[in-house]
């Protein structure tokens, strides 16, 4: 389980989990689950376009996830955010359908893009993934305080002179960066589950932002490691385990929070 090609899988999936745990914390805090779904999902068009032009998939993914993030940011300023997100997403998916139909070969990469190919990570994918992850973590470290302030207390942030529109765009760009690095290896579905399930569970367990952030990364790592081990053991797709385990983590987190609110004594009695 820890030899040869599996080493790459463990490494890359761990990197993706750390980034997803960090960025997902803000995704959950901002209630931006739809954005976290739309940007990776829409970047599918970029991968299809890269396949059509014969260029590196990372370039296509990066371009389209940034384009999607920008589209959502710009359209969302003067309309409901969910409407802007939905329409940006379908516009990108429509382009993706066009690119796929232009690609002559009939076997399309749809499944591996959606659910990832964790067990097929090549050596030359390691370095770009690690570099992009460092960039995402660096950007988040710089943004941490203004982002937290404008998320939790938008009015105070505005009063302190934090430009909320620009912060929004920076945050969306971070989501795009996380997408670009993780979609080729873990797929759009998986990265979305990681960005939602683990941070949501962490949030119901820890109240202080720093400890919630650390817990979020820990839960994301545990989810990914357990999923790879189970997938390797049972010879089933990793995406299934990540999706289900993320939901289980969230349910456990909520259950624990409810149990603590009621108090252990009354829970034991009733």
């Amino acid at each position: 389980m820890f030899s040869g090609f599996m080493v790459n899988a463990w490494l890359v999936a761990s990197i993706a989990a750390v980034v997803a745990g960090l960025i997902g914390f803000f995704v959950v805090l901002r209630g931006a689950a739809f954005v976290a779904h739309a940007v990776p999902n829409g970047s599918f068009a970029g991968a299809a376009g890269a396949g059509l032009l014969g260029i590196n998939v990372l370039l296509g993914l990066g371009a389209f996830s940034l384009l999607g993030a920008l589209g959502i940011g710009v359209l969302g300023r003067r309309d409901r955010l969910d409407v802007a997100t939905a329409l940006t997403l379908v516009a990108m998916l429509g382009l993706g359908a066009l690119f796929v139909s232009f690609t002559a070969e009939s076997a399309s990469p749809a499944y591996s893009l959606l659910f990832g190919e964790v067990l097929g990570v090549a050596n030359n994918q390691l370095l770009p993934t690690a570099l992009l992850a460092l960039a995402a973590i660096g950007a988040l470290a710089v943004l941490y305080r203004p982002l937290l302030l404008s998320t939790v207390l938008a009015e105070v942030g505005a009063a302190r002179g934090i430009p909320s529109a620009r912060i929004d765009l920076c945050f969306l760009a971070c989501v795009a960066l996380a997408t670009t690095l993780s979609v080729p290896v873990v797929g759009t579905t998986l990265i979305f589950s990681l960005m939602i399930g683990a941070p949501a569970a962490a949030r119901s367990l820890a109240k202080r932002p720093a400890s919630a952030l650390a817990l979020s990364v820990a839960i994301a790592l545990a989810t990914v490691w357990l999923s790879i081990a189970l997938a390797y053991d049972m010879n089933l797709p990793v995406g299934f385990f990540v999706g289900v385990l993320s939901a289980v983590a969230y349910a456990l987190g909520r259950g624990w929070a409810a149990w603590r609110r009621r108090g252990p004594a009354s829970a034991a009695a009733g």
């Binding site: 959950v28 689950a33 309309d79 139909s101 009939s106 499944y111 999706g243 289900v244």
Partner: protein, 290 residues
């Protein structure tokens, strides 16, 4: 005159029976999606509408494995997903996106497993694509009866709860004060949404389903705030986009590019037209709706 017309409409457009069927189904789906979609946009449940469409991949794959028609898989997964979203808490404005996202993530995980099992049992690599993207020119005429029936069910639910639904969508507090059973109305509406999405996924695939559900109503609500007018405008935009989209897709079989003659996908045309209509409507009314 006729040569100019021929340049726009390639010969055989009106005689082709796949085109006829595509137009009929597109019309039915566009009308239902527009009516339901106006409420979806007002209620801010675009994410739920899109998630239900995505989750139909799970239902389609499950139906494929069990060996029943895709429609039954779509209906079963739509209703159970809508129920799960309601249970996790879609009514609360704050936690709504999270509730939808958790259900979507778990459902897509299940889809990963089911699609994998489909690919190992049937060696049919096209199943993933068909379930995800649908194909308007490729369904049989036997699907038109369930499509219309589902659409009528969705419209009937909305017609029955029209006034309380509208009130609780625009102002939940006012509706609660007037004694409207908000939770019941919300659940009924979510069922109508699930039926409408199942229907449009069956007919036109998950991408187009979201495009038609959100695009025309969002554009219409930029143009007018009166509900009936918005519904009518949304229907007009959706129908125009669908008809012109089908026409362009048919024409594209005769285009010289790309070299291999498969035509351009109809979903691309319709999505692009819907998106352009939305952008055009945005320029008309600059007021903020946030």
């Amino acid at each position: 005159m006729s040569s100019a017309l021929r340049a726009i409409i390639e010969p055989g457009f009106f005689a082709s029976s796949p085109v006829q069927l595509a137009l009929e189904v597109a019309t039915a789906v566009a009308l239902v999606a527009s009516v339901i979609g106006v409420f979806t946009v007002i209620r801010g449940q675009a994410f739920a509408g899109h998630s239900l469409a995505d989750l139909n991949a799970t239902g389609g794959a499950a139906a494929f494995l069990v060996g029943v028609g895709a429609l039954w898989g779509f209906i079963a997964i739509s209703i159970s997903a809508a129920g799960a979203m309601q249970a996790v808490g879609i009514e609360r404005r704050r936690g709504r996106d999270l509730a939808t996202g958790i259900v979507l993530g778990a459902g897509l995980g299940l889809a990963a497993l089911l699609l994998y099992l489909v690919s190992t049992t049937s060696h049919d690599s096209g199943a993933t694509n068909l379930v995800l993207f649908g194909s308007m020119f490729a369904f049989s005429s036997s699907t038109i009866v369930p499509v219309v029936a589902l659409g009528l069910v969705a419209l009937a639910i909305v017609a029955v709860v029209y006034r309380p639904l509208l009130l609780s969508s625009v102002s939940p507090e006012l509706a609660a004060a007037r004694g409207v059973p908000i939770r019941l109305v919300g659940t009924l509406y979510l069922l109508a949404l699930a039926a409408a999405v199942a229907l449009s996924c069956l007919a036109i695939g998950a991408i187009l389903s979201t495009a038609l559900l959100i695009g025309p109503p969002a554009a219409a609500l930029r143009l007018t705030r009166r509900p009936w007018l918005a519904i009518a405008a949304a229907c007009a935009i959706a129908l125009t986009s669908c008809w012109v989209g089908v026409l362009l897709a048919y024409d594209s079989y005769y285009w010289d590019w790309p070299p291999h003659q498969d035509g351009w996908p109809v979903s691309f045309f319709i999505v692009t037209l819907v998106f352009l209509a939305y952008l055009a409507a945005r320029t008309r009314s600059p007021r903020s709706r946030r």
